[in-house]
Symmetry: C2
Subunit: 307 residues, 2 copies
């Protein structure tokens, strides 16, 4: 495949950045990849495992001459990083990111992008519960969606198309979406489910009458799926909730409303209501499997659950 | 292995019963297995796939001469089944079940068990989101826990020990627990998580501003784990909530209390509270993996997420 960017800079070297690096190497679509992480320990690990062609000791050094700069840091610090690198960006370069919220990123990063540099925010909907520079793998984005969220109506179309081709080269499907809708969709498919999972695991951990060892031993009855989600990176998720406050609170409101209705049906012994509700939710699962977004194998095909 | 029971009768032929049958065949620890399901279609499928040595057209016929009768029907109909088969049970036989709640089963089944027959309720903590006679597989109980919940203090110890050995032969670990504690533990590790997952999927399905096709396409961001749980059998789960009302409502109350505290932290922008909460929940996940109750592979080892 032809080279899409001569030099790509990854700022932040966690799960997403490291997966991007291995996927770029697999695709062979970029010339050189530089990387930077704030923590010296992360930089040392990156050098050790060959993550990035060059690991730099400053963000400014990493973005030098880069045609594409991708911010892979928690949403809460993106503005500060953008402020630091802004004056050192190559004219004509594209700055993108991988943040889970988009309005807040546009607001905090946008003002620091100089004239002549394209700012094209994006969000790969892919991840695992693991984090850090060693967590990445080349296949993370295969058949997953990347949402490109242009920061304004006059974003350069060529820059958007180039970034789209880049992500397709990493195995992803790409779609464009406006920032507000993105943040609402993600509040439904990701942010609220994560908050709920964190809450349920916290409740289980807190309950004196049921011990932690009981919770652990008997987790296979459903709870362990929640613990996977609730093992995700705390800093990243703190920032998601602080920066996608409105949409998350809206969906949480809808959630508690529905939960109270089901709770009432349980209290009143209204089996018909429960049965109808539980039947309806099966269709969505079928849709996800048919769309290739999850495995049809029972129990996610966990070891031992093969038919 | 020596034969543990000469004849076992399975009443109800869904995921659990069919898995028990294949696991019994793998273990070679029982003589003959008879089965019965209320639906003629299920019985026909069972005969077609060789599920059970004999598929009977009535429960009474199936339990004839059985040393162990296992009720594998939804909790809400166990009492009626027990009433029907009670007079036809072999003296000295054991009646057990696989229901997800235990107090309600003891109350509804117990009165129909005649003198001289042992009633030893049990609950294998294993399952997938799939249901029906074709959903079973021999490995379902491997390394999973089965809780034996004796129905009264004067339950025959030999009958309990025999049932324990039977489940161990199917690959499970066994522990004894009293009914009230069982129902509380399961409300935490299973019943409340299922209700929450059903609710979240229902909310996503209901929301007009986010389409079902968006929910499906972008589900990999966390939501799809919820849809797996919310694809479980509606009848079984209706009965669970109707019969474990008190414990489920108690845990739901704790859950909403915690959720409101986190919601308030989001509204107030209290990042420290969120970060501390999200850090604490990671430890439980580690415990589950160390206890062999889940895979350590990222994203449950779903296809494509290998490192």
């Amino acid at each position: 495949m032809a080279q899409q960017y001569e030099k790509v800079a990854l700022i932040g070297l966690g799960l997403i950045a490291s997966s991007m690096f291995w996927a770029m190497k697999r695709a062979g679509t970029v010339g050189e990849v530089s990387g930077y992480a704030r923590s010296a320990e992360t930089r040392a690990t990156a050098r050790e495992i060959g993550l990035c062609d060059t690991v730099c000791d400053s963000a400014i050094e990493a973005v030098k001459d880069a045609d594409l700069v991708v911010l892979c840091v928690p949403v809460g610090v993106m503005g500060a990083v953008a402020e630091e690198i802004g004056p050192h960006l190559k004219p004509g370069a594209t700055v993108s990111d991988v943040g889970s919220v988009k309005k807040a990123v546009i607001d905090s990063v946008g003002p620091h992008i100089p004239e002549g540099v394209h700012f094209v925010p994006a969000h790969p909907l892919a991840g695992t519960e693991q984090s850090g520079p060693t967590a990445g793998f080349a296949e993370l984005f295969d058949n997953r969606w990347v949402l490109i969220v242009p920061s304004s109506d006059d974003t350069d179309d060529a820059a958007v198309i180039r970034l789209q081709a880049f992500w397709e080269g990493l195995g992803a499907f790409v779609e464009r979406m406006d920032a507000e809708h993105h943040d609402l969709v993600l509040a439904v498919t990701s942010h609220t489910p994560h908050l709920i999972a964190y809450t349920m695991v916290g409740v289980a951990d807190d309950l004196r009458r049921v011990t932690d060892s009981e919770v652990i031993k008997y987790s296979a009855a459903g709870f362990r799926d929640f613990t996977r989600i609730a093992a995700s990176d705390p800093t990243m998720w703190r920032d998601v909730f602080l920066t996608n406050k409105e949409a998350t609170l809206e969906i949480l409101g809808r959630f508690t409303e529905e939960l109270f209705a089901l709770q009432r049906a349980i209290r009143k012994g209204d089996g018909d209501h429960l049965h109808a509700y539980f039947t309806r939710t099966r269709a969505i699962r079928r849709g996800i499997i048919e769309a290739g977004q999850d495995t049809a194998a029972p129990d996610f095909g966990r070891t031992g659950s093969k038919r």
